[in-house]
Amino acid sequence: MAIEFKLPELGENIESADVLNILVSVGDKVEKDQGVIEIETDKATIEVPSTLTGVVKEILIKSGEKVKVGQSIVTFEEANQKAAIKTVEKQVETLPAKKVEAKPAAAIENKTTFETKKAKSASAVVDMKLPELGENIESADVLNVLVKPGDIIEKDQGVIEIETDKATIEVPSTLSGKVVDVILKSGDKAKVGQTILKIETGDTFAGEVSEEKKPAVIQAPVEEKVEFKNAANIDSTKGERDKFSPGEVDNQPPISKGAAPAAPSVRRIARELGVDINKVQGTGPFGRISMDDVKAYVKKLNENRETLPSLGIKQEALPDFSKFGEVDIKPMSNIRAKTAVHLSYAWSSIPHVTQHDKADITELEKIRKSHNPKVEKAGGKLTVTAILLKVVAAALKVFPQFNSSVDLEKKEVIYKKYFNIGIAVDTEHGLIVPVVKNVDQKNLTELAVEMNAIAEKARIRKISLDELQGGCFTITNLGGIGGTSFTPIVNSPEVAILGVSRSSLEPVYMNGAFEPRLMLPLSLSYDHRIIDGADAARFLRWVCEALEQPIKILIEG
């Protein structure tokens, strides 16, 4: 009979491991507790001892592979029982590198196995119940039943797959034997302690480890029943018995494997810092968690939060530039550091697309020049940017998705009913974006005056925080310097930005001839999560047309 040996539970939260070495080969006779493979988990390197005795028939994994808990590792041709018992003593020699197995115990176990076997001749049908799944888990949904009546199963073999609020897990059999009846079907809710399977155990299926457990398993339910009866007969006679009865530890967390190895003081600090101690990687022996580990974890969390834009990509180490020539190292200014973080975030979290277009501002330029003196008298300057403020505000009304923000976590789009537009200002201290509020409610003269004032404040670092907040959209004009187009970065959490380059006279073919027209190149970068390309093209076209025929603002905006 060929039997599969599966990777047993390795400890809480360990679901898989890397195979380092395979310690047996086909044809080898393997004893119970003999190391079969050597694996590496994130916690330790361990040898996996066989739970079976037999001759290796097939090896199902290779070193270097990842194995999952419950995955078949090797198949055994089962050896006869007498041979198994004879070789028990030899185990000690065959297992030199074994980590912590207590050899004497194993030998004794096997002896008992033998005796039990002799004593028992008849087979028994035993209930396999849903074992404890973890603290506070009382029931679970059955996803899959992995065995059927007639199956021969081994101890630790998965019998059902269940889903709790925490995880999907395979429940390993506590017994070996033949499945007589499957009580649950997929879709059922199973309670802890409820019978899952009826398993026929006995001589036919002996020879495995679980054998010595059998009497205990058979007894357990009987004992429970007895206690129950007594409890029913004599009510309110709890106390004493409860006090010492294991398993009835309301409230008392039983120490178990998988609990983070950390001193109480460390656990408390972690709790105060809001850190789940179980997530902290301990640097001490066997992963013991020190105070420093908790602090390092918190620091890493914070760093991750700050460098979120890099999406987990760590900065590559910089070379020593001084090797190549003279360097001068200066600390980043605050503005520079913030800009760097903010733009990195915007760049990596927003899928950017940039749409380019040109507006014919030949006529607009005439109007601008003729009205400028009046505006100048009021203390402003009628610039293309000032006009663009008004145009964009109108465009935002026509295309409301450009005046929004995206909350991907909540899957929500926030539409704004106000029209505040930021203007990127180049100052000697760095890039600053003051915001002109309620652009839709102000005329061009007012806007020009305000823009002048606010830009000046930004340059002399007198700007208030209030004046830097609340923008819906940003305009960045590099036309004063030059260029034909560029791809601005959306000023998150806004969803679009309009880049303005230098206008120039270009030959435009109109009315059957080339005419010199003053063309203004515009570049609209937008957040593709919320804005489609066609909308962006329409939006930018609308802006261009409004610049060409400002009446459009009054009619549509």
């Binding site: 330790a44 404890e132 013991r288």
Partner: protein, 469 residues
């Protein structure tokens, strides 16, 4: 912070809570029936029983001294003086707590409390007056009461419980202890050493149900030698008063029913929570089907203003659990992010030999299918144990086979209750076997058995030859 805190019940949970709350600057009222803080533990439990057990040990050691060439005459027991010694201990401790309570400006009220609603309690004081108290938070620490079997409740002075047994009415000629748990065995040992013929009847197949059998076996052997009779898997069917004694009908393991007459009977089947009379129905506090108040990991009940600690808040019903919970509850009230999250709560049975354990027991490990390894160091290999002529002990470690972490410690032997603290610390610190092995323990002491158990795990104990591989 000037929160108004009321603590109901002044046992080791309640007074610890009240004192810490006062230390943190809260305005504290502590209510208890007794004149001073102390609760069952100090007045009628841990403390008086330990005073008597100390005497019991002295008597049995004096007896055993004849094996070492020292023979004492049979002791002359002055019961009044013994009672006075015990009462003095209790008086000193509870009186001291009363003074400390005043020093901390805790408003101590002698009386009983009842909830009117989630903000008010009514106190009926022992002086006959009553008062209503408004509070921000209440901590319920009313403890537990002696469990009884109604069918065996016969009103007789000769049927003792743990409270009346501590009063030492007289030295009975014979005593039947009903319940082989720690209370019965401790008090049974006291009377046994005073000269009483003691028998024990226990419903389950072993003494101290729940404790690992290998720890209990030394105690069981000694008790079987010293006691008159130990009846396991046996049940008391009936008690009735007869002339100069109590007639007891016992059904033994084989189903046979027999009747015996004992001078006295001690009912010690345990303790149970009792919430009747607290007026919890006027609050949102929930009580589970077994009588315990349901609390979260901060000891908060389902009523946000009300916390519960100690025996009333669930098992294990132990004083040291209560006082630890007290600190967590008060710190939670003070706004700290804390939780009741011990890795081990030690349990000690103060018999001779003592039995103590902490963390995972082998019984639990088997039941929960937790993989473990166990090493046992027999005290016969301990020099210190031999100098005491007490080789009837064992120290064992329950170890995680993968990371070699200490999951549980069990000790049987004289002084086990003191020794277990190291095990608790090891478990709390997440220590592994190597840590215990590499910690120098003083020689010659019983504490070395912990270190040697760890050495034994690696097959390297100096005093036991048992190579591993």
């Amino acid at each position: 912070m000037n929160k108004k805190i009321v603590v109901i019940g002044a046992g080791p949970g309640g007074y610890a809570a009240a004192f810490l709350a006062a230390d943190l600057g809260m305005e504290v009222t502590l209510i208890d029936k007794e004149k001073n803080p102390g609760g069952v533990c100090l007045y009628r439990g841990c403390i008086p029983s330990k005073a008597l057990l100390h005497v019991a040990k002295l008597i049995s050691e004096a007896e055993e001294a004849k094996n070492w060439g020292i023979e004492f005459p049979k002791p002359n027991i002055d019961l009044n003086k013994l009672r006075e010694f015990k009462n003095n201990v209790v008086g000193k401790l509870t009186g001291g707590l009363g003074i400390i309570s005043k020093q901390r400006k805790v408003n101590y009220i002698s009386g009983t409390a009842r909830f009117m609603n989630s903000e008010t309690i009514k106190v009926d004081k022992t002086d006959g007056s009553s008062a209503e108290i408004k509070f921000d938070k209440v901590i319920i620490a009313t403890g537990s009461v002696i469990a009884t079997i109604p069918s065996l409740n016969i009103n007789s002075k000769r049927v003792l419980n743990s409270t009346t047994a501590l009063d030492l009415p007289e030295i009975p000629k014979s005593l039947l202890v009903i319940g082989g748990g720690y209370i019965g065995l401790e008090l049974g040992s006291v009377y046994n050493s005073l000269g009483t013929k003691v028998s024990v009847v226990e419903m389950t197949p072993g003494l101290l149900p729940g404790a690992d059998r290998d720890l209990v076996s030394f105690l069981a052997k000694r008790i079987e030698k010293k006691f008159d009779k130990v009846m396991l898997s046996s049940k008391v069917l009936e008690l009735r008063e007869v002339q100069n004694g109590i007639g007891v009908k016992i059904q033994s393991a084989d189903g046979n029913i027999s009747e015996h007459v004992y001078d006295y009977v001690l009912m010690s089947i345990g303790r149970k929570p009792e919430t009747k009379g607290l007026g919890l129905e006027n609050t949102r506090v929930k009580v589970n089907e077994r009588g315990w108040i349901v609390v979260n990991e901060q000891l908060k009940t389902s009523d946000p203003n009300i916390y519960a600690i100690g025996d009333i808040a669930g098992e294990p019903m132990l004083a040291h659990k209560a006082s630890h919970e007290a600190r967590v509850a008060v710190e939670a009230i003070a706004g700290h992010k804390v939780a009741f999250e011990p890795k081990a709560i030690p349990a000690v049975v103060f018999t001779d030999p003592e039995i103590a354990w902490a963390g995972l027991t082998e019984n639990q490990a088997k039941e929960k299918n937790i993989k473990y390894e166990v090493v046992k160091f027999p005290w016969a290999a301990s020099g210190r144990a031999l100098t005491l002529d007490r080789s009837d002990g064992v120290t064992k470690l329950i170890i995680d086979p993968i990371d070699q972490r200490i999951l549980g410690v069990g000790i049987c032997g004289p002084g086990a209750g003191e020794l277990i603290a190291e095990g608790v610390l090891a478990i709390e610190m997440g220590a592994n076997v190597t840590d215990l092995k590499l910690t120098i323990h003083p020689h010659p002491t019983l504490s070395e058995t912990i270190m040697e158990s760890a050495e034994l795990f690696f097959g390297q104990s100096s005093h036991i030859y048992k190579p591993n591989r």
